[in-house]
């Protein structure tokens, strides 16, 4: 098991280097002269040349690549042109908000999706199954921005139960930063009222973000459960007199969970990438919003930085999924 984990971590490092290289290639094949972009439309030829030298853009591509990778190794993601602050610092400032949103959304997706998928499979073709299937199709079909606005109108504007947008109201003093996740930090600081406020803020965006993910977890889990429930060892368990609930909730679920886990890993990456829309609708101060505003002002270093950070979390999530696989399935441990 340890050797397996070690190999997975090595793969993680390799993949990370691959992503870094790929990002470099993509930014360099993209049309346009970055130096001219930075210098602005009214710059003279001299100014462009100065900037080119300053950013090291006059060197050959391999040389630039070495410098770029070297910078990455030391955690230097470059500087934002707009704010003139280091990109790493800014990304680290915005990332926790996004991560918090994604974690909560993922929790909703798993906690609701897995049991619903199970129920749907056990009562296949019954009323519960039909309702969850309609539910899951709409989950995939509803566009996030539209669904978000509808929720805002209903629960924030009309009913007034929840805040419309943002992460914390301006008047609330944020808890001391430990993890950057407000829900965790407020609990650590023992401030239950702040926790409650943060929770009320995160509910709507998290639901919107979780909906497509919930739907796909539900569908995968349902399909897997249906298949597992027909398998021989389930028949055997029934024949040996094991209680139905135990068969479904333990014997079958553990087997059905493997493909569902793979889906969870993929969805995690997808969520990180698609928070942009949700963050825009709910004015959520995360890296999605940061990347969009940077891209709109042709500020490329932050865009690359965000790409790398999202890539990093995605790979970490999938490595964890692989490890969970081996933890659940003994056959994979020796492989």
């Amino acid at each position: 098991m340890l050797a397996f984990a070690f190999r997975k971590v090595l793969t993680l490092v390799g993949t990370m280097i691959g992503i870094a290289a790929l990002t470099f290639v993509i930014t360099n094949v993209a049309p346009g002269d970055p130096a001219r972009l930075v210098a602005g439309p009214n710059a003279t030829e001299d100014m462009v040349t100065t900037i080119r030298t300053e950013y090291g853009l006059d060197k050959s591509l391999p040389e630039q690549f070495v410098v770029y990778m070297g910078d990455l190794m030391t955690g230097d993601l470059g500087q934002s042109i707009v704010t003139t602050r280091p990109v790493l610092e800014e990304v680290l400032r915005y990332a926790p908000a996004t991560l918090e949103l994604v974690f909560v959304a993922m929790a909703i997706g798993i906690i609701v999706g897995v049991p619903l998928g199970m129920l749907s499979a056990v009562y296949k073709d019954g009323p519960i199954d039909h309702i969850t299937r309609i539910f899951s199709i709409s989950g995939v079909a509803l566009p996030a921005f539209w669904f978000g606005i509808i929720l805002q109108l209903t629960f924030a504007v009309d009913l007034g139960w929840l805040p419309v947008s943002g992460r914390l109201p301006l008047v609330t003093r944020p808890p001391e930063t430990v993890t950057g996740l407000l829900l965790v930090d407020s609990l650590l600081a023992g401030r239950l009222d702040t926790f409650w406020t943060a929770l009320r803020h995160i509910i709507l965006p998290a639901i919107v973000l979780s909906f497509p993910c919930l739907a796909s977890i539900l569908r995968v889990n349902r399909a897997e459960m249906i298949e597992v429930l027909q398998s021989d060892y389930i028949v055997a368990a029934r024949a040996h007199g094991i209680a139905s609930f135990r068969i479904v909730a333990i014997y079958a679920l553990k087997n059905a969970l493997l493909p569902t886990l793979a889906m969870i890993g993929l969805r995690f990456g997808w969520m990180l990438g698609s928070t942009v829309l949700v963050e825009t609708v709910f004015d959520w101060p995360g890296i999605g919003l940061y990347a969009v505003s940077s891209a709109l002002s042709s500020d490329f270093k932050p865009v690359i930085g965000v790409t790398l950070v999202i890539g990093f979390f995605f790979i970490v999530a999938n490595t964890l999924v692989d490890l969970a696989y081996a933890w659940i399935d003994p056959r994979l441990r020796s492989a």
Partner: protein, 553 residues
């Protein structure tokens, strides 16, 4: 002790399907007394599994009892509510299954699975669940009882770490955990190797004696039934066509179907009458060796670096026109060898000479062209045909790939091939699921001979088929060889089949040839211990089934 333990009376069962109800069981009458050993024989689709599963209340979901009832120990269990079943299932009636590979949950340890069953029984019994340690002791006792070594180590192992025979013993241990009155064994040896089959049957026999069990065993293998069951019922298309003492049925079958079934069982102790089927002397131009393997070796390397030698330095030569048998148990490397001979698996080292030409170095186009002359027939015809292609497409595929024949020519050739395998021409419009197992295997053979190959490699071509169908396919293969001047490499674990059809045979064990020679010589005076053991275990079930051979034929 009054009345029978199990009484099935006028039982009729329908299963609702898309096309309306199917009568799966018709007028079943069956009584089992305490201490009885009853065998139910029947081929796939005869309804025997549905019948015994109904006894345990785990029949198919869409089924409906039309008439009759099943009484267990005086209690009507035909329409028992689910909660009452918990007092019966696994405790009073328990079951062992066909394929120990798939009937154990792969993600839980052996110990946990058996302990769970014990806990479930204790719960159903109403007296609380005993401690984990107590259940562990009980589990280890059970494992010991079924003859498994080192129970305490086994407790923490997972199913995939065990061999097939060990898994079957684990399943038997599980079935015994409730101290059942009635044990139902559903094809308990079908998926096992011959030597292991004999051991498992011995185990069941000894348990019957020791624990005074009542047993119902179902199987398509009359030999296995004969070793266990004193009484026997023959099922055909959902009906019991004949029942009585096993010895009587074997020696004097009454029903037409039973007679046919018995006649189809190959006998390990009978020399083949068809061996003289002219080994292609009709082709004097190319006598001698068609296929040769020199020092052929296959080593698999796992990710962690351990090496497994699947096939170790095999030398063999197959003469033109002969049927060359390869026999061995699962894991002996016979399938790997077969696939290497066709270069479907790349050998680690060694040479393959086909018709005087070394094909081990061939790649790309020359290899592709070479494949015209050598074709493969797979074990399971149900998975060897693409369900979305018509039979015509399937047979025509090699013609489309390997030749430049026109559509019309291919159509004509497909019809001719269907004719050769004795199936109606109209079958080309059908889909695989509309065909029976035997018909599908014929289609696979038709596809293999489409290009007029010279060599056919048949990997257990009859193992997935019913016995009566097996006999037909074997006869057919022999006819076909004479007709088309074919050479066969015939792989099987079934010694009786090998003896019936092969000219020369090699016996494989753990990737090596332990013995080889003329098939008859091999059977009459086996030299190697392993060959002797194989024949002895094969004989055990075969002889029981054929104790009446003269009366049948």
């Amino acid at each position: 002790m009054t009345g029978p333990l199990l009484d099935i009376h006028n039982y009729r069962l329908d299963i609702a399907t898309f096309d309306g109800p199917v009568h799966v069981l018709k007028d079943i009458n069956l009584t089992v007394n305490r201490g009885d050993t009853l065998g139910i024989v029947g081929e796939s689709g005869s309804g025997k599994t549905v019948l015994v599963r109904s006894v345990l209340g785990i029949g198919p979901k869409a089924s409906k009892v039309v008439e009759g009832k099943i009484a267990f120990d005086g209690q009507d269990i035909t329409a028992l509510p689910e909660k009452d079943w918990t007092k019966i299932r696994g405790i009073r009636i328990s079951m062992i299954f066909q394929d120990p590979m798939t009937y154990l949950n792969p993600l839980f340890t052996i110990g946990q699975q058996i302990s769970d069953v014990i806990a479930a029984h204790e719960k159903a019994g109403g007296h609380g669940v005993s401690s984990k340690a107590a259940r562990r002791t009980r589990t280890e006792d059970l494992l010991d009882q079924v003859g498994l070594p080192n129970p305490s180590m086994l407790f923490d192992q997972y199913p995939h770490q065990l061999s097939g025979g060990m898994r079957q013993r684990v399943l038997i241990a599980m079935a015994l955990s409730g101290k059942p009155d009635l044990l139902i064994a559903d094809e308990p040896t079908t998926a096992l190797d011959v030597t292991v089959q004999a051991q498992v049957l011995d185990l069941i026999n000894s348990l019957v004696e020791k624990l005074n069990l009542t047993v119902i065993m179902i199987s398509h293998d009359i030999g296995a039934i004969a070793t266990i069951a004193k009484r026997c019922a023959v099922m055909y298309k959902g009906e019991i066509v004949e029942q009585g003492l096993t010895a009587d049925i074997l020696s004097a079958p009454k029903h037409e179907y039973t007679k046919r079934l018995l006649a189809a069982v190959p006998d390990i102790d009978t020399a083949a009458t068809k061996v003289a089927a002219q080994p292609a002397i009709a082709e004097p131009a190319k006598p001698g060796v068609l296929l040769e393997a020199i020092d052929l070796k296959k080593v698999y390397r796992s990710q962690s670096g351990t090496e497994v030698t699947a096939v170790n330095s095999i030398n063999l030569s197959v003469a033109t026109g002969e049927i060359f048998g390869v026999v061995g148990e699962s894991g002996s490397g016979k399938s790997t060898l077969a696939r290497m001979l066709l270069r479907l698996i790349e050998p680690t080292s060694g040479d393959i000479i086909f018709d005087g030409r070394n094909i081990s170095g061939l790649t790309g186009e020359p290899l592709r062209l070479m494949r015209r002359h050598m074709q493969f027939v797979f074990q399971n015809p149900h998975s060897a045909l693409n369900g979305r292609h018509t039979i015509g497409d399937a047979i025509g595929e090699p013609l489309r790939i390997q030749t430049s024949m026109s559509r019309r020519d291919i159509e004509a050739r497909v019809e001719a091939l269907l004719d050769i395998v004795q199936l109606p021409k109209m079958f080309k419009y059908r889909y695989p699921h509309e065909l029976s197992g035997g018909q599908k295997q014929r289609i696979c053979i038709a596809r293999a001979i489409a290009l007029n190959p010279r060599l056919l490699i048949l990997d257990e071509p009859t193992s997935a088929l019913d016995i009566s169908v097996q006999a037909q396919v074997l006869d057919f293969l022999q006819e076909l060889r004479a007709e088309l001047d074919l050479t066969y490499v015939f792989i099987s674990h079934n010694l009786a089949v090998i003896r019936q059809i092969c000219d020369r045979t090699i016996v494989m064990k753990r990737g090596e040839i332990v013995e080889q020679g003329e098939t008859e010589t091999l059977f009459l005076s086996p030299q190697h211990e392993y060959t002797k053991a194989l024949i002895e275990s094969g004989r055990k079930t075969s002889r029981a089934a054929n104790l009446s051979a003269p009366a049948v034929s």
